[in-house]
């Protein structure tokens, strides 16, 4: 939730110009500067860290190939995020088309966590982290089943804390679309929570 939002500063411009001129060190510095942010964003789509690193490499190779098309009137990081989001969603689409998938089975993990919880019932304080795990698994399952465009806009807003203007740049749409899509995304998330985990849904009047 504590995203840094770099703008296209002088340094970025210099590094981009250097990379376009064939300076490998300049491109390396650009990779160094943004690799953790790209990985963090990919981590919202993909749980396997090795897979995330492979995807991050793909992202930077796309950046390398397309850097000459980057319009410097927008921020470099929004352009980079657009490539990252596209790479992640393409990856997810490919993964869904695979006939056999190696999926971390939430139900199995939950079952293991519950049986572990039964063993540890006597232990004071053990319930809290387990409840957090269950809550995380439940909400993650809801997030995972959201349509890609809603999941992406929620990730960009809630985790990356992008402004509406920045999201419009990343998603290549206008501000009105960002606002309405964000509104619908929150609505869909709430509806999915109500359907799958009614106990977690915020109800009218039970607020703080």
């Amino acid at each position: 939730m504590f995203a840094l939002k770099p703008s296209l500063g002088r340094d970025d411009q210099d590094l981009i110009a250097g990379a376009l001129a064939g300076n490998e060190a300049a491109f390396g510095a650009l990779v160094d500067r943004y690799k953790d942010r790209v990985l963090r964003l990919l981590g919202r789509y993909c749980r396997d860290p090795i897979e995330c690193e492979d995807l991050a490499q793909d992202v930077f190779l796309k950046v390398f190939r397309k850097l000459h098309t980057f319009q410097q009137d927008s921020a470099f990081f929004t352009w980079l995020y657009r490539i990252t989001v596209n790479t992640a969603t393409d990856h997810l689409a490919r993964a869904q088309r695979r006939p056999l998938r190696l999926v971390e089975d939430d139900a199995v993990l939950d079952g293991a966590a519950r049986s572990g919880a039964a063993d540890d019932d006597e232990r004071v304080g053990a319930a809290a982290p387990l409840m957090r795990q269950e809550l995380a698994a439940a909400t993650r399952a809801v997030v995972d089943q959201l349509p890609e465009k809603y999941r992406t806009i929620l990730i960009l807003r809630e985790f990356e804390e992008l402004s509406y203007t920045e999201m419009a740049e990343v998603l290549a749409c206008n501000l009105g679309t960002v606002e309405s899509r964000l509104f619908r995304a929150r609505q869909r998330f709430k509806e999915a929570l109500e359907r799958l985990h009614p106990d977690l849904v915020p109800h009218r009047g039970d607020g703080r």
Binding site: M1, G22, E24, F27, G28, V31, D32, K35, D36, L39, R40, L42, G43, R44, R47, P49, C52, E53, A56, Q57, F60, L61, F64, R65, P129, R132, Q133, L135, A136, T139, R140, V142, V143, L154, R157, E158, F159, S163, Y164, E179, L182, F183, R186, Q187, F189, K190, L193, L200, P202, R204, G205, G207, R208
Partner: protein, 170 residues
């Protein structure tokens, strides 16, 4: 969602919640929230949804790039057709260029030699005889002398005609 809010209020509240309003607008919305329970309730719902969404990744540490990540990206970039060229990468290409230049120079030299007539290849070409001018003159004179001698010996027994030319005139 709270149904009592108009869509304009929903949008306004969302912008307020996401901190996308100018300070003056934000202050005005804050005053309305204090005065209107429906807005306050909707704001609480938005906050709870945010908390739930954040909970999906609770306890997960974001992946961090390994120490060799950047060098791996650069190595992969070098392998691209449009990739960076280091001196080591350029060496095989340079060697090929050198070989090509040597072959082209040899071809040009052979072509020059052939055009100058110093090189005749194949059965169709006449064989060139090379000798110093003095040696050639001496050889011609020797052949003339032999022809003359042969003619004389041919004429002596029959008393035929004198020879009409020499090897030089042929």
């Amino acid at each position: 969602m709270t149904r009592s809010l108009s869509s304009a209020d929903e949008r306004l509240l969302q912008r307020f919640f996401d901190r996308q309003l100018a300070p003056a607008e934000s202050a005005a919305v804050a005053r309305r929230i204090d005065a209107e329970p429906a807005l306050r309730q909707r704001l609480q719902e938005l906050q709870q949804l945010r908390d739930h969404f954040g909970a999906a990744w609770a306890g997960e540490r974001p992946p961090v790039a390994g120490a060799e990540f950047t060098s791996r990206v650069l190595a992969a970039a070098r392998r691209l057709p449009s990739g960076f060229r280091t001196e080591e990468d350029a060496l095989p290409a340079l060697r090929w260029c050198q070989r090509l230049l040597v072959v082209a120079a040899a071809a040009a030299l052979l072509s020059l030699l052939w055009h100058a007539g110093w090189l005749r290849l194949g059965a169709g070409g006449a064989r060139a005889i090379e000798a110093a001018p003095d040696a050639m003159r001496m050889e011609i004179e020797r052949l003339d002398a032999r022809i003359r001698a042969a003619q004389q010996s041919h004429q002596s027994p029959q008393g035929g005609q004198a020879p009409t030319g020499t090897a030089r005139s042929r």
